[in-house]
């Protein structure tokens, strides 16, 4: 009997290895210091800007490796960090406030590799430095606000329906609104009236039939929580995008948590200010009597103020604020009956009253929404942190068609995207649930670099120790196992680079070291089995055949349980530990492949095709 390999097996193993090798390659190229330039607030970067920048860099004697326009961003690569920093200053001076620059490390992957989607592994923050925040959304605040809104709404509704009540109060502890009446008839009438207006409410009556307890249905509660979380994520994402961080991550975690990762950011104070910055919104009437021309020259009418819209158009607005954004309870984009984009706005009861009074005598005039945000500017304050700058801009102005109430729409918007953007900004004007930082991890750049070096050294020495041991202990078969071990490492790195969600962390690197030690297990099992079979007097070829076949069931069983543990670990872990679980799981799969399929191929190739009397095992 001879052990020969079917041709497809060569194709499979060599194909897999080549593929892994190609996708692992980008990790070998060093990273270039780079500069990312993007426009703020959905603006665009023109080709003209790019060529101007390139010229300025050349004028300042900065050798840029490349300056390209990609995905609406300018990406410039440099040879050194000094060039990169100098270039940033030039870019900041030249481009001004409408653009954001971010320092970055861009992988120097060759074009032919990028073309097939090969990229280096994602590195966790513990390896490249940066800040990690875990934010908790204060859901209680969102629910409380909702209850208080309900109180306002009930008062208005009952008054409108001319139903007499004694008190309307929010019972925050129980999450209910209590409405008391003088008579049972009033209560019954009120319940019917309120139920008709809002079907998501749960009504119960007290034993004396004079108090109506109104709760919020589970579905509505869930909606409120989702809304609060989504709103926060949208706002934080917008802000993070504007502070110039390359590859930031803003992600939901669980029911009320948000993970924010800002690679490369060291100044946590600034980052915290940005996350905690407040935005507000004001509605004002446009001053049509004042002269815009003379206002631009500095002669602003006493009752008005000069504002600018996002595209730089000056607008003269009345000083009187008609309504502030904290009365907005919801804003969503949609379409009117002619399929034109519009934004639907919902106000709380008080807001409705205010707006109704404010617009009563203003039909036909224009109303502007002003978005106000505090952002860190370029100036550095006494405490070493950037001074917060108040930024105000008119995000929309529209003609008042009728007296407005609690629900109104803004029409005349150019595109659905703009409508959506406007709705987001309107919502951002009143953050219904504040966030709190409950976890913060900052890794300095030096520590990140050190961690990478430590990890690589540990992998190298661990690998060397195991390779030596196997070669001494199993001789030629040990060398076969060693080839499999190296192939396993290539496969692991290739897989880690290929899977978009996989991130390498320090514990992940420890996981690779551990895998190197454990990956030989399958080969040890097989080789010991072959030795036993030989001792029992089987022929060489039978021993190889049985050794592999019998060991396989054991290898499968023992690795499936380990995989189970890796899955559990992935489920509970955060950040670094998740990285460990990923390398552990990938390592198990690749080591089974190389140790079982790979070495068998080699063993058969070397010893399987001929008559041999003994094995060098």
């Amino acid at each position: 009997m001879l052990n020969k390999n079917p041709a497809w097996r060569y194709v499979l193993v060599i194909g897999m290895l080549l593929l892994a090798l190609v996708y692992a390659l980008p990790n070998l190229y060093p990273e270039d210091p780079a500069l990312n330039i993007s426009a703020t607030r959905g603006g665009t970067v023109a080709e003209q800007t790019r060529s101007q920048l390139e010229q300025s860099f050349r004028a300042a004697n900065i050798a840029a490796k490349s300056v390209v326009l990609e995905d609406g961003q300018i990406r410039a690569r440099f040879n050194s960090t000094e060039d990169q920093l100098q270039a940033r200053e030039i870019a900041n001076q030249q481009l001004g406030a409408n653009f954001v620059t971010a320092l970055n490390l861009a992988p120097a992957t060759p074009d032919w590799l990028s073309a097939i989607g090969a990229t280096p592994m994602n590195l966790g923050l513990d390896l490249r430095g940066g800040v990690h925040f875990l934010l908790a959304v204060d859901m209680k605040a969102a629910l409380d606000k909702n209850l208080n809104d309900l109180v306002q709404t009930f008062r208005a509704d009952l008054r409108e329906d001319k139903i007499r009540y004694r008190t309307v109060q929010a019972d925050i502890g129980r999450g209910q609104v209590q409405v008391t009446f003088r008579s049972t008839e009033d209560l019954t009438a009120a319940e019917a009236a309120l139920r008709k207006r809002d079907r998501e409410l749960v009504f119960t009556t007290s034993s004396d039939n004079l108090t109506l307890l109104v709760g919020i249905s589970e579905i509505r509660l869930k909606e409120i929580r989702e809304y609060a979380l989504e709103q926060n994520i949208t706002i934080i994402r917008n802000r993070v995008n504007e502070i110039g961080v390359a590859e930031p991550l803003v992600q939901r975690q669980g029911a009320d948590r948000i993970v924010v990762q800002l690679p490369g950011v060291q100044d946590t104070a600034q980052a915290k200010e940005i996350l905690g910055a407040t935005a507000s919104l004001e509605f004002r009437l446009v001053d049509t009597e004042g002269d815009l021309g003379s206002a631009l020259e500095g002669r602003v009418p006493p009752n008005s103020e000069l504002y600018y819209s996002r595209d730089g158009r000056p607008v003269l607005l009345e000083k009187r604020i008609m309504l502030t954004g904290d009365h907005i309870t919801g804003a969503s984009s949609g379409y009117d009956e002619y399929s034109q984009p519009q934004v639907n706005i919902k106000l709380d009861a008080k807001g409705g009253t205010l707006l109704s009074a404010g617009t009563k005598n203003a039909i036909g005039r224009r109303m502007a929404s002003v978005f106000i945000e505090y952002k860190p500017g370029t100036e550095i304050g006494a405490d070493g942190n950037p001074v917060l700058v108040k930024q105000q801009e008119v995000i929309n102005d529209a003609t008042i068609q009728a007296r407005l109430g609690r629900d109104f729409v803004i029409t005349g918007i150019n595109s659905p995207a703009e409508a959506q953007n406007l709705a987001t900004l309107l919502r951002a004007g009143a953050l219904i649930a504040p966030v709190q930082i409950i976890e913060e991890r900052t890794i300095g750049p030096s520590l990140g670099k050190e961690n990478i070096e430590l990890g690589i050294t540990a992998i190298q020495w661990g690998m060397a120790a195991v390779l030596l041991f196997m070669a001494v202990y199993y001789k030629a078969f040990g060398m076969v196992a060693n080839i499999a071990l190296v192939a396993n490492l290539v496969l692991m790195v290739g897989m880690m680079s290929l899977i978009p969600g996989a991130t390498l962390t320090l514990p992940g690197m420890a996981g690779i070291v551990l895998t190197v030690g454990m990956a030989v297990d399958a080969n040890v099992l097989i080789f010991e089995r072959i030795r036993e079979e030989l001792l029992e007097g089987r022929s060489v070829q039978q021993a190889i055949h049985h050794g592999y076949d019998r060991a396989f069931a054991t290898i499968a069983d023992s690795n499936i349980t380990t995989l189970l543990v890796a899955l559990v670990l992935f489920g509970i872990g955060t950040g670094p530990v998740k990285g460990f679980a990923v390398t552990l799981a990938i390592g198990i799969l690749t080591s089974i492949f190389t140790a079982v399929v790979g070495t068998r191929l080699l063993v058969n190739l070397i010893w399987g095709g001929r008559r041999v009397q003994s094995l060098p095992i």
Partner: protein, 314 residues
Amino acid sequence: MQVFNFAKPLNFMRLKWAAVVLSAVLVLGSFASIAINGINWGLDFTGGTVIEVGFAKPADLVAVRQTLTNAGYEDAVVQLFGTSRDVLIRIPLRVDIAQAVVGDTVLQALNSQQAEAVTMRRVEFVGPSVGEELKQDGGLAMLMALLGILAYVAMRFEWRLSVGAVTALTHDVILTLGLFSVLQLEFDLTVLAAILALIGYSINDTIVVFDRIRESFRKLRETTVAETINDAITSTLNRTVITSLTTMLVLVVLFYMGGALIHGFATALLFGIAVGTYSSIYVASAIAEILGISREDMLPPPPVDKEGEGSEAL
């Protein structure tokens, strides 16, 4: 080359009661230590702030402590971390200060009062709720891993072996926790990950032995249960020792070269794997034997399509 080459199986099961007593004593000892000394929970579990700073020259810890006291952090724990130039500062959770800014104020204080500027290496703040959740999640994860293994081994093998395997794993976890409690080593998130990895590794060993027990039961017809188990353990002993050896080899490398952040991780796994190798031989198999595993339990089930002949074959 071969580590062990025995002419006939070693009588492992002769020592099973001694092993059971030894393990019981160690487990009780671990529980006692955990009850008395407690576990030195790391930042991930307790919450609080940890600041690692680097000095250009070997650090003067007394001066650092003084600076911190002046800044209002009398309860800060200051120690060297890894090298003489790296200092780790721990500040426990307090109600009277805004936790999120502790890192910034401490760094400012150090930079303004120390003779030379320090470099920030890392600042970690964990809020109180996060730590509590992590303890619960970690415990839950261990429980889930153990239950998953219990179910899988019961399905693939037999319930007595399954109970033996999970007892051995629990034994390994408790002893490792005991070690961390006795030595008061810091128990952080990476150690939790190491203990879960240990569960995965230790079950590997156990399953290799069980697999052989099943095979030996089918192969050796004339032997007692104890002899069969001895035979299985002896014939897998080489593999058990070699794999443990290569794994310990890389862990020693990791311990010495992986840096201070990985120390706890490497320690937990090194100890755990030593204990796990012992427990997969003694605890797992001995318990299966004590529970009364027999040859009949391990024979392949009769083929379904030959129902009438099934009883005859047995």
